[in-house]
Amino acid sequence: MRYLPLTDADRSAMLGVIGAASVDDLFRDVPRSVWLDEPPALPRAMGEIEVERALMRLAAKNVPASAVPSFLGCGVYRHHVPAAVDHLIQRGEFLTSYTPYQPEVSQGTLQSMFEFQTQVALITAMDVANASMYDGATSCAEAVMMANRLTRRRKAILAGDLHPHYREAAATYARFGDFSVVTRPAGPAGENDLAALASKIDGETSCVVVQNPGSFGDVRDLSLLAEACHRAGALLVVVVAEAVSLGLVKPPGEMGADIVAAEGQSLGNAPGFGGPHLGLFAVREKFVRQMPGRVVGETRDVEGRRGFVLTLSTREQHIRREKATSNICTNSGLCALAFTIHMALLGEAGFTRLAELNHARAALLADRLAALPRLRVLTRCFFNELTVRLPVPAAPVVDMLAARGVLAGVPASRLWPERADLADLLILAATELNTEDDIATLTAGLREVLS
């Protein structure tokens, strides 16, 4: 077996040193009634050639979104990742290191995490950020639990156009964490929803969770909602499912957010069928000691040189055990590194331009779609995603277009199957990777299918 360096001669020499008759003898504490004399009846070892062939065969059964015009979004976006990103994250020193418990031999990871935390704080316009969570949905659930701790209240109000996966994850955490979540009904054009949200805040409310841009694409000003939260002693949690939007849209920190829970996949990370991705988590400075997850801080070594360490670990499970702010341990280190490198390549000018480019492609998409008969664009203010109403249910249309080699977007029924009134809605995203030709192929397909 190519990954195992011990030879049979080594094994017998080592057994001699140990004084054991056989390797099986080392397992003598295992009750004989459960010991397997033979390995389970499963396939035997394969060489690299065979493994590669087997997995390539599976990969070939899929239609990658990179191979066809794709307008899929709803929390996962296909962006161009510069080649340098993947090269650097595959450096063995990054790829094959553990959580940086020994800072003297982990300065590469620790410094990169410090840079990541700074980037996240800057783009969200918040004070501080942690070193990442699993994904946007778990960031959101952790944000609600943090708001519960800070306010000593146990009810969160979720906007109707919060991504349903985020809503469902928060509801699951709520059921077992003994707090409650109340969700407004979903629908596009969420301005009305903001006022309705504000009207639901009461003395029991720990936080309001609102996504911007919303799941249907709407971009809104959350400032008044933030004021309403703060008047009632509640916190505003802002979810950002498309991190690239922060290059162009007024950031949560400037609209009164107390906690930002975001998905960072768009920077540096492939859609990857949904994972691994990375949760961004940023807060106001005064809340930092209730923040979940790993945090890196700056310090000095014994020679006075700047260095970095994991810090504030008295919040964490390995020190506090059942009193920890969260049970999270491993997070999304390498995904966060990819984010950091991509963001470093973009810089101020590149990040802003990337966001503008996304917006411009979506604007073009909106105009081309608006020109189609029997179809109505519902989203007026958007970043790179918008919702249209079709004259027929959207899911079969998407399936028909997929058969023609176009991934036309996400039918609302995929995310809100319980809402028959949303079945005609189709949510489409455009990024810098969508060409005019892609849009033309989409609109031609839609024209044909809808006629």
Binding site: D29, Q102, G275, R305, A344, A349
Partner: protein, 517 residues
Amino acid sequence: MSGWSRALSGFARSDATAATISGNHGLQLEDPLLFEQDAPGRCGVDLPEPPSGDRLGGLRRRGPIGLPGLSEPQVVRHFMRASQKNYGIDMGLYPLGSCTMKHNPRLNEKLARLPGFADLHPLQPEATVQGALELIDTLARWLKELTGMPAVAMSPAAGAHGELCGMMCIRAAIEARGERRQRVLVPESAHGTNPATAAACGYAVDAIPANARGRVDLAALKAKLGEDVAAIMLTNPNTCGLFEDEILAIAEAVHGAGAFFYCDGANFNALVGRVRPGDLGVDCMHLNLHKTFSTPHGGGGPGSGPVVLAASLARFAPLPWIAHEGAGFRLVEQAAGSAAETIGRIKGNHGQMGMFVRALAYIVSHGTDGLRQLSGDAVLNANYLLARLGDLLTPSYAGPCMHEVLFDDRFLHDTGVTTLDFAKALIDEGFHPMTMYFPLVVHGALLMEPTESESKASLDRFVSVVRGLAERAKAGDAAEFHAAPRFTPRRRLDETAAARKPVLRWRRPAPESQAAE
């Protein structure tokens, strides 16, 4: 003065620091933070100019964000230099106990990057992702067979997330019986995530002591069992590196009290291909794909923590599920029909697909025979360390151990050298240290897990260094240990100061005129 300290006496690192103008030391290259290399307008990507105008309804971001501008060569150099300040399993022995730092095959990286996996969107029509669903289903089948369990939840994002998932399923099952139990029993030696998870699921945590043999004290466990106990969370092999040899009696007692048996599967590397947790009476166990199945740990994730479930818990598994339909596969994404009792979603999308590809490639590369060989080699390597070090260090418990071996700091008694000092001296010798001060059940723990990836020659080198350091400690060279590490990019860092006045992000320094005030 020993030979070791004589060799060092003429070379204190502070002298070396002073000796270079740049602060660099040969191949150890310093680099300012990204933010300190900013030139406004400079950019490491070339993107076309977008048309003007917007549809943001007046919500355009104003003012600078504050991101620095660097070119591609600067960025590449920056992160190359950073990488060279890290230790990785690619470089050498990484005996971090309970973390299973084994070789990460590059084939797995290559396959995870195939566009047919990496470029799939999770919300594509099912007809366009049949190969991806088949891959997840195939991995699920392997995990079920290897653990002897009938069901598996694939979506948990890491080990602790898997624990949460499993404990949620257990609580759901208890509630479905119309009960509301209050306590979860957790051995003192458990990973910190276990009590944190139990608390996150609304349970009070009750610690069970270990017996003199480093295993759960069965009598104490039985005394704590009662009708308000929801579950026991037990790691097996435990964090002392020992197989819980009374596990069948433990499972029987737990089940007899109507409670569930949660097994922390972080240490499954010792058992794979030889023992199936399902045969031990386990109801629920997470598998760290980033441990046993070698997906890279990446400096702190991403992980992946599928949870195998007994029949009694399967119907509570989180969404989504993969179901067979005709010759193909479909995703069950809604809590209805056969999924009506699910605990619901616990994260976005379907799980850590990129980790699934790597883990499956690893598993089929080994095959069932290779996996059995792997656990045997892992246990052999750990026992070899025990045999070669046991006379000089102080093993906490009698062997045989499983895949990791636990020493405590009795061998350092009266030397003035602590476990921490010993670990830092190992760094200077070119090794990543073992896990320190965990588990908490022994004083000054040194927990070593060599894994099956080490050759005998590699272990022999490690043994000779550890023995040499132990002899030096006993010979009274404490000061040299206190000064370690000397040869690292940074020496000991002030963690107290970092926590007292946290600096968690870079900020532009104030202009000098203000700074002087």
